[in-house]
């Protein structure tokens, strides 16, 4: 039975996915502007959108927030119950000066609140929402440094982290099939949660009175899921002893984050208004097959004449190349900062009102990188249009004696429409057959930011 269970793993593919910020945004301000902030990221989220931007922070900033995204993804008219994506978002930005050069350090994280790392394994050919199913059940951390060597030039770099899992389990000893309680078995389970890292770097040019231009590079990461198992011992069946060794090693890609290059511009010519446009190239064509690479070996020596039929060693699954296409993701965002009231006070050398209410909106479009699924694979995906809205309530120096800075509550809402996509199989004898997919994603979040 164990052999069968182990063999079942052999043809499994994991659900591969990318990091949370790629799909649901990072930080309420940036998300509310459709993620079009490569030239305009100023808070901890700059660690993801453009590490150079963190040097814009005037003070130490601490953020704490939460986001929830409901996924209603369906085949035909029926919901596939793809898990919602939710978690805690934390951020810290610490600016300073080194040898007269402004610099800043930032760290941010998305922490799923229902687990640290979550991957699912399914057989090749089994339908799954390739880029949405469990993709966000991963811990994401970023840390970066930025400097402003020239008044118009900001440079930043950092590292993104994703969690990965490797598991070993072993069973050794003697199994008595007719008297299981007399069996003497040792069990060993060893799990390891490791981090994979990928580089992030950005550059930002400040165009005086006009706004800014930014470019960001995010590296590729493959997050491995590794399982190895060993069953070693003697099976005692009514006095017939059969030495047995079963060894299994399987590894697969459980999460993939493509190379990305984002370029963005932020027009800030009009007072209190930012108009942002981004274009991101995503190197999906490097997407690795999520089908497991494996090694399996079965050794057993039943005595001659024993009516024991050993199963054949399972044949390895031949991975079908996913053949994803590179995509360009356009983004647009706007922020209006003209709503303010209350008594005037001075903050960081500027005259500001007590209350500021920035208003934000954004949009982005993701063409699906997944090719037509008319063959054996069923990697479900479709295009995605996303609209965002948001606002913040900022209090500048609200409590002079307690907080000599500001408090801002950033909020955002997100709505994605995934237009229907038809899948028509080339083979009439396909066991899955034709289907049509589509859906919506709706979410929102908030983060409270305190600057000192």
């Amino acid at each position: 039975m164990r052999l069968l269970a182990a063999a079942a793993v052999l043809t499994c593919a994991s659900t591969a996915s990318a990091a949370v910020p790629d799909q649901f945004g990072f930080g309420s301000r940036s998300t509310a502007m459709g993620g079009a902030v490569t030239a305009d990221a100023k808070d901890f989220s700059a660690g993801y959108y453009n590490p150079a931007g963190v040097v814009e922070a005037p003070d130490v900033e601490v953020s704490f927030g939460y986001m929830y995204n409901m996924q209603a993804l369906r085949v035909g008219e029926l919901d596939n119950e793809v898990e919602d994506v939710h978690g805690v978002v934390l951020g810290l930005v610490a600016p300073g000066e080194l040898f007269g050069v402004p610099f800043a350090f930032s760290v941010g994280t998305h922490l799923p609140d229902d687990g640290l790392s979550h991957v699912q394994a399914r057989r090749q050919g089994v339908p799954r929402w390739e880029l949405y199913d469990a993709r966000a059940q991963l811990l994401y951390i970023e840390a970066c440094l930025a400097v402003r060597p020239l008044p118009w030039l900001e440079i930043g770099g950092g590292i993104g982290y994703l969690t990965a899992t490797s598991v070993h389990f072993g069973i050794r000893g003697r199994a008595d099939l007719l008297s299981p309680f007399d069996s003497q078995l040792e069990h060993e389970v060893d799990g390891d949660l490791t981090a994979v890292r990928y580089p992030q770097a950005g550059l930002r040019l400040v165009l005086e009175d006009w706004g800014a231009f930014g470019v960001t590079y995010r590296g590729e990461s493959n997050l491995d899921l590794e399982v190895d198992a060993l069953l070693e011992g003697v099976v005692d069946f009514a006095g017939i002893e059969v030495p047995l060794l079963y060894q299994l090693e399987a590894s697969t890609i459980s999460s993939f984050t493509p190379h990305q290059i984002a370029a963005g511009i932020s027009f800030q010519r009009v007072e209190d208004l930012s108009l942002n446009f981004d274009l991101t190239w995503m190197h999906w064509s490097n997407y690795a097959s999520p089908v497991a690479r494996l090694f399996a070996r079965l050794e057993a020596e039943p005595p001659p004449g024993t009516p024991v039929e050993l199963p054949d060693e399972p044949l390895p699954t031949i991975p079908i190349p996913p053949e994803f296409s590179d995509t360009f993701v356009p983004r647009a965002g706007v922020e209006y900062r003209g709503v303010r009231f209350g008594s005037e006070r001075e903050l960081d050398g500027k005259k500001v009102a007590l209350v500021e209410i920035p208003l934000r909106a954004g949009y982005w479009y993701e063409k699906s990188p997944v090719p037509d699924q008319g063959g054996e694979t069923n990697l479900i995906d479709t295009d995605r249009h996303t609209w965002t809205l948001g606002a913040a309530v900022g209090l500048n120096k609200p409590f002079d004696d307690v907080l000599d800075g500001s408090l801002r509550l950033h909020m955002h809402g997100l709505f994605s429409w995934l237009p229907e996509r038809s899948v028509q199989k080339s083979s009439a004898a396909d066991f899955i057959g034709d289907y049509r997919v589509g859906g919506i994603i709706a979410g929102g979040g908030a983060n409270l930011e305190a600057s000192f």
């Binding site: 659900t15 993804l73 369906r74 085949v75 035909g76 029926l78 919901d79 596939n80 119950e81 793809v82 898990e83 805690v88 994280t109 922490l111 799923p112 609140d113 229902d114 687990g115 640290l116 790392s117 979550h118 699912q120 089994v126 339908p127 799954r128 929402w129 949405y132 199913d133 469990a134 059940q137 811990l139 951390i141 969690t163 390891d192 949660l193 490791t194 981090a195 054996e376 069923n378 038809s422 899948v423 028509q424 083979s427 009439a428 004898a429 396909d430 066991f431 899955i432 057959g433 034709d434 289907y435 049509r436």
Partner: protein, 349 residues
């Protein structure tokens, strides 16, 4: 160490749940089929066998929707059997001489009581009526069956009482590619244009092949083409023969018509499994599925498939050995379900 650091960061987290995304995934419910299990059958029945008798040996069944409504599970099964005279020992190798009908409210727990709907009486039948196929056509139930001299037809209004159509077989041996082989094991469906299509097996020296005939009235049939529509492959599970067809039409969610063909696949070593092939409307040839749809390692020698579609699943009925021991070496009717993770409605008592 790194894991420990991460765990500190995640101190307020709980364990991940089992994960979603598995509900309502697409599936054509065409196979593979798993054998139904004990709790999926009514009381007193031994899964996966939905009809099993070691005296009369019901076998070679076809199952139809009793009320024409796929949302309900009421079904009728037509099976061949043979009543063994009291003075004889039951012998499963004796060809069946009767066709019976039994009823199930859940699609698989068939009542033990049955009606005899046809007995071998005509000379051309040679004492054999076997391998029934039933279709509702023109407001009547049409029963096609295999006799010793070909394929016969009978019709009736209530699904129980049948009157033979003509005095001879509606499909007798022919020349051409059939080489005077005896047509047998009919499967009949009503095409979109309202006509009847029959698929039948012709035993040939190189292994059985499947032919097609068409009819507008059920009584007179015209063979299609000059070659079998489905024949043994050069290698694989049906290199030794393609036999005992069962065909049905379905429309995909994208509106494409698919002609589905289940059959007994016989490999070069004589091992029998249930195979599946299909073609889109307008395609000349059938495409084989990537794998057999039922039969495991073939030890139980499955054959005579029949498939009935319901809302989200399909039931497969096959004739196979009642077990692997010598005492169980007789035919019985087993059932399977696709997709394998389908949850069947509660079984009837």
């Amino acid at each position: 160490m790194r894991a420990a650091a991460l765990l500190v960061l995640a101190g307020c987290s709980s364990l991940a749940d089992s994960g979603g995304g598995k509900a309502n995934l697409p599936n054509a419910a065409a196979g593979p089929f798993r054998a139904i299990e004990g709790e999926e059958l009514g009381a007193g029945r031994a899964a996966p066998y939905v009809l099993k008798d070691d005296d009369d040996f019901p076998r070679n069944a076809v199952v139809i929707d009793a009320d024409g409504d796929a949302a309900t599970l009421a079904t009728w099964i037509y099976a061949a059997h043979r009543v063994t005279p009291d003075e004889e020992e039951p012998d499963p190798s004796v060809p069946p001489g009767e066709i019976i009908r039994a009823v199930a409210e859940d699609g698989r727990s068939f009542a033990r009581a049955f009606d005899v709907v046809l007995r071998a009486e005509e000379a051309w039948e040679g004492g054999v009526v076997d391998r029934p196929a039933v279709v509702v056509f023109g407001g009547e139930h049409w029963l096609f069956y295999a006799g010793a001299g070909g394929i016969g037809a009978a019709k009736g209004s209530d699904g129980v009482t049948f009157t033979r159509v003509g005095s001879g077989p509606v499909l007798a041996p022919s020349g051409g590619w059939e080489a005077a082989g005896m047509p047998t094991s009919p499967a009949v469906l009503v095409a979109a244009d309202g006509s009847l299509r029959m698929y039948y097996e012709v035993p040939l020296a190189g292994g059985s092949a499947i032919g097609e005939a068409r009819s507008s009235d059920g009584a007179s049939w015209e063979r299609v083409g000059t070659a079998p529509i489905f024949a043994p492959a050069e290698e694989g599970i049906d290199a030794g023969g393609t036999a005992e067809p069962y065909a049905l039409m379905m429309t995909t969610p994208e509106g494409r018509s698919v002609e589905q063909l289940y059959y007994t696949a016989i490999d070069a070593m004589g091992i029998r499994l249930i195979g599946y092939a299909a073609r889109f409307e307008g395609e000349a040839s059938f495409t084989r599925a990537l794998s057999p749809v039922f039969g495991g390692d073939g030890d139980l020698v499955p054959g005579e498939p029949c498939v009935l579609r319901y809302g989200g699943f399909s039931l497969l009925y096959v004739t196979e050995k009642a077990g692997e021991t010598e005492a169980l070496d007789y035919p019985a009717i087993a059932a399977g379900v696709a997709p394998a993770d389908a949850v069947l409605p509660p079984a009837a008592p």
